[in-house]
């Protein structure tokens, strides 16, 4: 559970920063030689409470903590080592009988978690026209993220009944274990998690720099198709892993950075009509490079690997692709747009010297998302050139809305950016 979700969070943040970068105006435009652009942006995510599961259905992100504590799940270790030992003993008492099998009978109720994540991203991007057909840029995000987690126990608990059934035939440890299990509470579940060396679940927050990106965008080809102005752009950038990476001792933190270097190669085909209508298509491929990180490696499929399972892990991330199409219109100062895009992140792989189930770490790492974006903004560069406005400035308000996905956070955000120019006017 944890590992799936960690991958999921990883992707979520990765996508967030990727989105922030592509939103930078500087990255989509080739600046004239000697002209620079600086852009400030702020992205505000709606409270994140849902994600797309592996089947594409929306589910609460608190589900990562949802756990039915029945005998079979306890036997797998999903309730921790103590409850696994209890279930193992009950299994021994049940022998090979399916009738009144104590493990099948045992139910301690269900742990239900509710998690709410808050993320806000501010970013600064700077671009500069190195050549009339080539611009360089750098973007630096600053992320403030937090999660709040609550657990509660629901449903019936029959441990006391089983204790009565076993009577004096049970070891005192089993009797005591069943008595303890009959009174299990959410706070005990949290305490048992913390006893494994994990930080308290209730609240986690982090403020800091995300992954920095540097790159270049250039005109590959420009021309006219009838009355349409057409251009093909190429963009490449390097994502530098300067952001926060999940701490293996914290269950409720999220990756602010990817933890690995990533190189993006993108082509953008755009046409513009004299009336201001425009349309573009883009294709991106991200080559992601392996990295080393600390993780807790499960022995098998246990949900909460023990603290001593923390080890250095070689992380080979899958690559990413994104395909999108954008259309819009610019009328005088006003610019509006609509974008439809699909992302895919291929599965990750983990390896290490400690024996364990590395495949479990990869569960759910293959993910996808289809989204749409609506944008509206203003652009005073024309008026500035015409001498009717003192400052060349571009502002934009954008809404990002997920449509469907798989193993992805169902997140929506609103972003506002403001850009201006410097250099040779």
């Amino acid at each position: 559970m944890r590992n799936t979700d960690r991958s999921f969070y990883f992707l979520f943040i990765g996508f967030a920063l990727l989105g922030s970068a592509t939103a930078v105006f500087a990255q989509d435009q080739v600046l004239p030689k000697g002209i620079g652009i600086y852009q400030l942006g702020h992205r505000d995510y709606s409270p994140q409470t849902e994600k797309f599961d592996s089947s594409g259905n929306a589910q609460s992100i608190g589900d990562r903590f949802n756990k039915t504590l029945d005998g079979r799940s306890l036997l797998k270790g999903e309730g921790g080592a103590d409850l696994k030992r209890l279930a193992t003993l009950l299994n021994d008492y049940s022998g090979q009988s399916t009738q009144n099998n104590l493990v099948d009978t045992l139910s301690l109720g269900r742990v239900e978690g509710s998690v709410e994540g808050q993320t806000k991203v501010d970013f600064l991007a700077i671009g500069y026209g190195l050549h009339d057909r080539l611009s360089l840029f750098v973007s630096i995000p600053y992320v403030r993220a937090s999660t709040d987690t609550q657990l509660e126990m629901v449903g019936g608990n029959n441990a006391a009944y089983i204790r009565t059934q076993l009577g004096e035939a049970a070891f005192s440890e089993v009797q005591a274990g069943l008595a303890q299990a009959s009174a299990i509470s959410a706070s005990q579940v949290k305490a048992s998690i913390e006893a494994k060396g994990y930080a308290p679940l209730e609240h986690w927050s982090y403020d800091g720099v995300g992954d920095i990106r540097v790159g270049a965008v250039g005109d590959i080809k420009k021309g006219m198709i009838g009355t349409l102005k057409a251009e093909i752009l190429g963009r490449s950038n390097l994502s530098i892993p300067t952001g926060y990476v999940e701490d293996p001792d914290v269950l409720t933190d999220v990756n602010i950075g990817k933890s690995y270097y990533s190189v993006e190669m993108t082509t953008i085909e755009r046409i513009r009509h004299p009336t201001g209508l425009f349309a573009s298509a883009d294709q991106s491929y991200f080559t992601n490079f392996s990295s080393d990180r600390q993780m807790r490696v499960p022995e098998s499929d246990e949900a909460l690997p023990a603290a001593e399972r923390k080890t250095g892990v070689r992380f080979q991330p899958g690559n990413d692709t994104e395909f999108g199409a954008t259309t819009g219109i610019t009328y005088q100062w006003i610019r509006s747009s609509y974008r439809f895009a699909a992302q895919r992140h291929y599965g990750d792989r983990y390896s290490g010297s400690l024996q364990g189930s590395y495949d479990t770490l990869s569960n759910g790492s293959d993910s996808s998302l289809v989204y749409q974006e609506f944008g509206i903004g203003f652009d005073s560069t024309g008026a500035y050139r015409a001498g009717t406005f003192a400052v060349p400035v571009i502002g934009q308000l954008k809404a990002h809305l997920p449509i469907s996905g798989r193993n992805k956070l169902k997140q929506q955000y609103y972003e506002v950016t403001l850009a201006s120019f410097f250099g040779r006017h």
């Binding site: 003993l89 021994d92 008492y93 049940s94 022998g95 090979q96 009988s97 399916t98 009738q99 009144n100 104590l102 009978t105 009944y161 089983i162 009565t164 059934q165 076993l166 009577g167 004096e168 035939a169 049970a170 070891f171 005192s172 440890e173 009797q175």
Partner: protein, 586 residues
Amino acid sequence: MDQHRPQAFPTRNEVIAIVLALAFHACGSSDTVSQRLPAGSGGHGSADSSAFSPFSSDPFLLQDLAAAAATKAQAIQRQGVTPEPNTLWALSQADGRPTIKLKLLRRMLAAPGALPEILVPSVRLSIQTDPKVLALLSSGGLGAVLSSLFLGDADLTLKIHEGIAEKVNRKLGGPALAPDLLWKFDAYTDAATTSGVPNRFSVRQQTARWNFVLGVNDSWNSTTSPPPGATDRGTILLAALQVFSDWNHAFGITSGQDGVPIGGLLVPVQSPDPKKMLAIDRHSTTPQEVTLTGSYSVQYTSGSLLSMAMTPTDRWSHADQPIELSEQAMLWRSMAHAFARLRPDRRQGMTPFFEATGGPIPNDIHMLPLSLLPGMSRLLKDSFIDIENRKVRGQSLTGTGTGQASLLAISRLGQAISAWQAALTNLDQAQVPANVAQQLEEAAAEFQRLLQLLTLNFLSAVRPNTGGVGYQLDNINSNDQAHDPSVLATTAEVLTTLMRLEQNDLPSSFLRERLIGCVHGFAQAFMPLLVGEGQAPTSMADLVWTQQLLVTYLKYEEANDSSTWAQNFLKYLELVLDKVEAGAIL
């Protein structure tokens, strides 16, 4: 016969060590036994006894019970009922049937054993110290001639028998011993016919006999049962004296005139080297972790009985082999039984036969069984109980447990532990030193944990009865097939033992539900074998254990409410046993 006080009683330090060793480290402390659950509180999954019948049509409604029982009894009579270990073991744990038991006792008293009675340590010593014999031997070279003239083999034998009969009869208030009840131990035989020939006995056989002898009748405790007739008491007493004499030799209690123990067949539990047979060392400050195990053989040189008595002629050897749990459990069970039987507060019915009132039995004979507790503790802790895996091992090989114990071995260990648990209560009245009593009672508290472990192992072996009703058991006697060929009796013994444990020591509706289901499975599988003629041969052990199983089963309210089949089945078995008891089959 001159009786000797056993001198192998554990010292204080030994007993402390026993207790410490008995504190099975991984078992922790036991909890207080909770209230017995109300019948039928098992909730879902409880056995539905009302819906069960092992037959599509009840055979007891189709035939005359008495006629069927007579047919079965005749079949058993044709086979014969002999004091073989399985029969003795079964009868020793069954209430009632005094006539069968006394007949078997008499049969045992007349049976040959492995060693000439002249070599019984106490008999040998009494001859060695007899003034008349000493006077004859002091006559130089004439001694041998004179002794053969005045003390021939027949004379010696007669004197031994007369001495014993006189002592027993005096206490019984008159001549009561039947003429055929001579001083013939099961473990000892007539030297004239077997001298020079190796003889052998097994601990399994002897423990079954010891347990049986000390279990016959309740004449030991007159407060709960009136003493039987004088003849019966004499038989019981004589058989008990034989047991004590066996112990004398096995434990090496009596020393010869040279101070060297006579006998001593104990082997160290951790390295049962056949060359290192030991006697109990009463001067040892550390507990002797020893036991009796496997089979022993003896060779002795031929000669006159007098010469055999005067010079050590018996050479014992012990086969090197793993120590089996099922055998040791029988030994421990019989020792627990012996301690409980011989405690001063529970032997009022036999008071005249103890030394304090001029009788032949040492007053503190009840302490002797305690001397095996250190060995028992060591074997359980190091070999038979695998705490880490919560398993019971079937064998001990040089101090290490191997294999998985069969259910028979587990149930017999359960019998032993339960018996020790009961035997070690109220020790303040048992004439056991107070500090020893306290430590033993504390150790006994740990037995509950061991019983729980045995129960867990039993429950692990329960599985649904394939194609039938209720449950069946795995691994009933895989380790003991050579010794216990009867699966029927073995299964009944296992289930009876577990039901008794549940009823007396470990009340548990879950265990009860499983056991009731097992009884149903047992009935479906074995009832047809026990009913009617022309079926598979039925042994006494089959009959007795099945009868005990039904008696124990019917104590359950769930079973007793509607189990007509069980009541009829029990009635049938009682009739068979009545007829066997009444018949001249021995």
